[in-house]
């Protein structure tokens, strides 16, 4: 074990290289660039021995990963914002073809106006593509989640691509210490990738050929079943990794001081980390409030949200907005609770365009929710 003091991007690169993907295909985009540059450095030093393909666009990066994965390789790529959106068609393809590609996405604002800071509209808008989506809150969690992502994606009951999201700059460009296990620990945890199917001239199959409506319908159902399997396997895999590495950041959610809480805050990503300080302060002031940081939004942790809704009223902070509807988490939390709990759910939109959300802001939002009776979503911090 060594301690690595570095940025989220470079720690993600370290994890990716230690997972030994046979193929990495990448196209640079701020704020992801330093991640793929770091992998290129591993190539230059001879520490990464796989195939590193420099492609001409993100659409090509995902296409190259799809081809390599279909040929039976462990694959990795990384992107951000507009790059992720250019991949959109191929994100569907990777998931429908049941290819366990692992990708880091650095959550960045979608333009125009041109803005490279954090919000989560890029990946939130890709929820329906069939990718498992994790959201990290620290560099250590980024390392551990990338390793977990390979294990999960390649599991025979899953075989779906996994996206590991980390917030632009707040994580991607901020140095924090992360404990890096020995290579042997990662090797033992992941094992060699044994594809469940692959392009193979000895066993000929066609990938993506025409299939009739009745069969296609079953393909969609099989994807849904795999996603539901992931709800059971994420707790198992995160616990296995805890045994192997000592690190645990929650499974589908991370609970923080929820015992006896009458209000529970739900947040995602770096706001989730900042929320812990807010919860500490609010508890010191005598409020019975806890935190459930959502690590995974696909599959959506419906059952866990219902449990929370039976215990407490919920407060949701979204760093995204589904224009014409609501913040995605607020929307889905309420949908999960329907018919199961009549907990009051208060929603906030905050930090769009990379506007800073400090623990003080989170405290202010929580205090508003504690005394406010309205159910609709409020926009926090529009002024200034």
């Amino acid at each position: 074990m060594t301690v690595m003091m570095d940025t989220g991007n470079r720690i993600a690169a370290k994890a990716a290289v230690m997972a030994k993907p046979e193929v990495v295909a990448a196209y640079p985009i701020t704020p992801q660039t330093t991640l793929v540059e770091a992998i290129a450095e591993y190539v230059a030093r001879g520490e990464y021995k796989g195939e590193y393909i420099c492609v001409e666009s993100e659409h090509s990066a995902m296409s190259a990963c799809i081809g390599a994965s279909a040929a039976g390789s462990r694959t990795f790529t990384a992107t951000s914002s507009h790059g992720l959106l250019l991949m959109h068609e191929m994100l569907h393809w990777a998931a429908l073809a049941r290819l366990p590609v692992v990708m880091c996405n650095i959550n960045r604002v979608v333009g125009p106006g041109w803005n490279i800071w954090v919000d989560e509209n890029d990946s939130i808008s890709q929820r329906d593509t069939g990718w498992i989506q994790f959201y990290c809150s620290s560099n250590q969690e980024i390392f551990d989640t990338v390793i977990q992502a390979f294990k999960l994606a390649e599991h025979e009951k899953i075989v779906l691509p996994v996206m590991v999201n980390l917030n632009a700059f707040i994580l991607s460009h901020t140095s924090m210490p992360a404990e890096i296990p020995d290579q042997q620990v990662v090797d033992d945890f992941l094992g060699n990738y044994v594809p469940k199917w692959k392009l193979d001239i000895e066993n000929p199959t066609t990938f993506g050929n025409i299939i009739g409506p009745a069969h296609y319908y079953k393909v969609r159902r099989a994807m849904q079943d795999a996603m539901l399997n992931a709800k059971k396997l994420i707790p198992q895999i995160t616990n296995d990794w805890k045994k192997a590495s000592g690190f645990f950041h929650g499974d589908l959610l991370e609970y923080y001081k929820c015992e006896g809480a009458e209000h529970i805050l739900l947040s995602i990503g770096a706001i989730g980390a900042e929320s812990k300080t807010a919860i500490d302060e609010l508890q010191k002031a005598g409020h019975r409030i806890g935190l459930a940081r959502v690590r995974v939004i696909r599959p959506f942790p419906t059952e866990d949200i219902i449990k929370l809704g039976k215990q407490a009223d919920l407060i949701v902070i979204d760093r995204n907005i589904s224009i014409g509807s609501e913040g995605a988490l607020f929307n889905e939390v309420k949908a999960a609770l329907y018919g199961e709990s009549d907990a009051k759910v208060t929603g906030f939109i905050a930090g769009l365009g990379g506007k800073d959300v400090t623990y003080k802001d989170i405290e202010t939002m929580c205090l508003k929710a504690l005394k406010d009776k309205v159910r609709e979503q409020q926009w926090y911090g529009l002024e200034g």
């Binding site: 429908l96 049941r98 469940k196 199959t205 066609t206 990938f207 009739g212 069969h215 393909v219 795999a226």
Partner: protein, 91 residues
């Protein structure tokens, strides 16, 4: 050939997975065996594997699956294959 346990969009080799596609045909290739020089260009170029190759390199057309695309007639250098409009099927 191995089939996989999960419902995927993989397609496995099978004769006529989409049914007898010969019914789609508007133009029908007619082979004149006397003109054929056994060059096998039609057999190589047929996109549907509907040209059958015999041991002596003579060829025949499988009308159950030939969609009538005309690639074979186009590729035939000795004009041994011509395309004729299918007649309306009598009921």
């Amino acid at each position: 050939m191995k089939k996989y346990p999960v419902e995927t969009s993989l397609s496995y080799p099978k004769k006529g997975a989409m049914g007898k596609t010969g019914s789609w045909r508007v133009f029908k290739p007619i082979l004149d065996k006397k003109k054929c020089v056994k060059c096998l260009r039609c057999w190589i170029f047929c996109p549907e594997g509907s040209i059958h190759r015999e041991k002596d390199d003579s060829v025949s057309i499988d009308y159950d699956f030939c969609k009538g695309c005309g690639v074979c007639a186009n590729e035939c250098n000795v004009k041994a294959i011509i395309m004729e409009r299918e007649e309306a099927k009598k009921k």
